[in-house]
Symmetry: D3
């Protein structure tokens, strides 16, 4: 049953908890995605895919954690970032809240590679409470899981075959395509120069902008098509539904 936490009442959540202790948190970022990509791309993708997945599965979807770790994008207007220490504190509170109600399978469905390290660090921060012997508090053990929407093999395969070496690693045609499928009115056009953006490592915002002047890394997002986005949504949603079920019943 499709169920957004934000559209549910508390008695409905109470009823859901009788059937499942699992909840999904879409987690993204607010950051530039090149000349034709949406700043909300990394939040939109997991949100849209999760809703699709929830159509046929029992899955409660929490609100989207929508600002993440994007310090390296701060050279581009509109990007927003948390410091990792802030993000850890916030994830800690989100999980503490949900576990208070009995949720013990917290599934973070992520849209931003730059979030991965900090989310994992947050998990360790949460687990450390129990591991250091503070079992005196009544919070029960929770299991957290982090999955990126592109992690599933069918998605990876589709990207490779559709975009090949033009996929890159930031402002990729696949993620842009997903947002175009979700928000057709927001489709943008831009000439990419060069067609495929440069690749490489980066440190802070200044360094990033110097190396990737239009924001893309290794990608040609002018290849993004809404119809491919639809397929990516469907592929990722199908895998997600299965993975979420496995996780919450394990």
């Amino acid at each position: 049953m499709h169920m957004l936490l934000h559209h549910a009442s508390w008695p409905e959540v109470e009823a859901y908890l009788e059937r499942s202790k699992g909840v999904l948190i879409p987690i993204g970022s607010t950051e530039q995605h090149g000349p034709n990509g949406l700043i909300g791309t990394d939040a939109i993708c997991p949100e849209v895919i999760a809703r699709k997945a929830a159509e046929d599965t029992q899955m409660l979807i929490a609100p989207t954690f929508n600002v993440g770790i994007a310090q390296h994008h701060m050279g581009f207007a509109g990007s927003m970032t948390l410091r990792p220490s802030t993000m850890i504190a916030a994830i800690y509170d989100w999980v503490a809240s949900l576990s208070r109600h009995g949720f013990d399978r917290i599934y973070f469905f992520n849209g931003h590679g730059g979030n991965i390290a900090t989310i994992q660090a947050a998990f360790s921060e949460i687990y450390a409470d129990r591991s250091l012997g503070r079992e005196g508090d009544n919070r029960r053990a929770v299991k957290c899981r982090l999955v990126n929407w592109w992690d599933f093999k069918p998605v990876l395969d589709y990207c490779k075959q559709t975009y090949g070496s033009a996929h890159g690693s930031h402002a990729t045609p696949s993620e842009v395509a997903v947002t175009y499928a979700a928000f057709p009115h927001a489709v943008k056009h831009a000439v990419m120069e060069p067609a495929i953006a440069p690749s490489g490592r980066f440190t802070d915002a200044e360094d990033y902008r110097a190396k990737f002047p239009d924001g893309r890394i290794g990608s040609d997002p002018s290849l993004a098509r809404a119809e491919d986005g639809e397929k990516l949504i469907a592929l990722s949603a199908k895998s997600l539904a299965e993975d979420f079920k496995n996780f919450t019943t394990s």
Copy 2:
């Protein structure tokens, strides 16, 4: 021009900044709203009203800050809360990010009374950096403003005249009506017992639940109608458009 930060590209934000340094952040909460109210009510209201306001005004809308201070609601399934110290850190980072790009009028459009104190504390935390003489850093002075969607006189008048003494202060028919107008499929029905919920002060979650067993305070949200929600949205949006314009051009 209607403009969601999440649907914009960075060059579009750059262009917007040539015309305006103002940005609006809808800020809400994820918390129970009684037997027939949505858990996302406090996030949905400012978000929906801001989008309405942005139809005719130049207004950039940031993503919604969607989990706030709801410790007192934790006795009801689905409620989520930040600790105030976490929320201050997060707001600090959001504002630091936006000011980095040149935004210097940050308008927090709020949907939850319980957030007010902490948002104001966050503003002081932000201002204190400059006030304590740390002008060495390059961040410019920002002005933050906090307005609740129900603060405008036309909204207050409408509520008083429509709901009278059944309006109450939590899970009010007005806020529920706004969410029903926004999401008709999420309309819920519940018998309220008593018709008007009790009122009073509260401290922590246990205390709250003991005093307000179904979550409402002083209200009868069974009076919520989508058509009234439409009117409330229109009234609040009109005032907001004007207030935002005044703020960003002052």
Copy 3:
């Protein structure tokens, strides 16, 4: 019985706890109060009024929390401020200490409007510990209450009738009068120009000083008279005694 915590011995406090679980904390600020106002005004007022109230009531008075949120006053020599995050941590520790001994009614009697938001945020920080299910720790539930010394109707009425539109909101004649009543040797004289100071909003210290060059907001504190201060002390103390009694026996 008049009882200052600082003048009591621990056996005396132990005996007091047999009779009452309530304690009052005067909470103020150290900040400029215009050309003829004392920098300690906001700490002195609640302290003096509380001592008066305690003459006929059972009331234990803790030491004064004497530096608060005054970042906006930092443009004037002698002002001191905490960052809100620091103040929350400190209030948290004060309450944790008192609740350790069995105090469960903590009454914050406040002298500074700028403190209100942060004190309320601190209360939420304290309550959140329990609300998030950390009942494992042995600290009992506490109830905190925040009242400003001018909140009582008789005080408000007296101010309105005595000062009318010259009362203003910072460096008011009423608060200055209270300090003059308490410390006659500290009475100061200054010509106010203009007679009534400007009013308006403000952000950081630079902004504040630009708008309110001598520190006052909307007031004419040259109207302050020690004899009016005496009356204000008496009025506020009478209401406080009653309110404190109600709170601690509820």
Copy 4:
């Protein structure tokens, strides 16, 4: 010239700053002091002595930092403590505030041995900002100094000769005598059993109470006399005046 910051106006502080950049902060604790000692002893002593010293010297006295590190006293009713991390943050803010106005000689006049380590740690926290190369901020270099009221040789000599082996290290007759001199109405009487309390090390509150059942360490505070307190105040104040002058003009 005697000058309490709390009794001054901002123009008076501005004028003071023309003559001196030095300010004194009495710093104490709120903690049990045995059967006949005042809970506020450690705050009262430095406050009273500083005011005495300020009678003949140019010395601005800030409000008293009145809750310190007293975790080990929490087994006795009325004791209050900060965690050291909180105290460091608070001292950091106090010094940042004062240095903002141009004070660059901050003299902490201390009444509690248990505060010493944390105050020194706070100094390092403050200095570290500059030492780590954050000179970009406009805050100037400050020098902080920590002196206990009993550190001066004449005071030490007087204690040794007056109390000998009954002086001890907590709830000493000397500190109790100072409070009796300051607040004659608060003099208390109690039979000490044994006459001289046991001595030794301690860790947390439970350990402390087990070893020192009435709160004293190594002392017989029944020897406290107000007239000796007067002498101690005079002796310490004289040394303080000189030391403060040396510090602020160095």
Copy 5:
């Protein structure tokens, strides 16, 4: 030139800085490594390999960061952990210290997979300072790099070919072999049951111990031989020397 920071004098470091701005920090963990593995394995490996690498290369080696993220190992005696938030603060300070002297290439040579996320989060915390526009402070831009000692292809190949499917992921024969090569007196013998430990995911310490009762994951560390450790040290050191040189001269 082989150079340990701990064995150098400050004039020697000053001279080194004329030639290079690069410094290496061995970073490990203090945690159980199965029945025959050393608790210090993850600190010892990068330390030993770095010293080997430094024999022929210009490389300054900082002290070892020796307690990391090991909350999941807390079910086994002797394991120690930082919370991630603490580790981020500590790494922040280490890098701030080194960059103060002009080091701008900070190479973290890591021995513990569980550290990776938190180290990367720490890098983002450091970069965020600059990216959020705090360039006012004088700290220069630094580049941080994280490499695990087993990341180099020759090492991976050697492990695969020597241990095959008995390598596993915790308490691996390769890391145990390195410590045996370094500290022959510490070689231990234990019967492994089963020969190859189980594999799988884990959350907190209780969960970990339940799944991996003797501490190993997927490995048979009874295969560890000091002579293989020598080879692993040589292989990793060779690659490290090259990689460090590339990094510090880029």
Copy 6:
């Protein structure tokens, strides 16, 4: 029995815990020690002495806490510092980890005077958890002890008699001698000008460097001889063994 935690396996630590609940943490600093002193001096001394002491005594030695409070040395290349707030958090985690396993006598053996205040503050932070009534958590009471390697009377006597007025307080010949005994290859030679360095107080790094241009305070470390270092190690180790035994069996 000599036992380094880093060289032990978890079953060995488990066995140790059957016999003793005591553990020793060498704690030092990474900071300049004048023209001929090692930057690692303050970490090396307690580490070397502890290992010596452990030869004949039952003593488990944890890894060395090797970066401490050295903000004042940051004007000299190679020095590293934590902020005190960071160090408190780290010590808190180290002790929480060890107490999790049943260690309840934690002996900090210190090599740096500048660490003392912050270590003591950390102890109070740890004890405060219990003292504020958080006994709900399962962590048991721990006793922490701080001893400097030079605190023992035989060591003090030896220093006085060997170096007299040339001992000083930073970069002393005694500590340099200990490092020379431990690492003969690291002996350095430098002409001291003046022979005995100046003495005095200091604040931040700039102030320190101005007053002590080559880093020494009051000492002539050219007197350091490896053979004296041997004696110092032996003297301190003997006292340590005894003191550790008393502490862990008390």
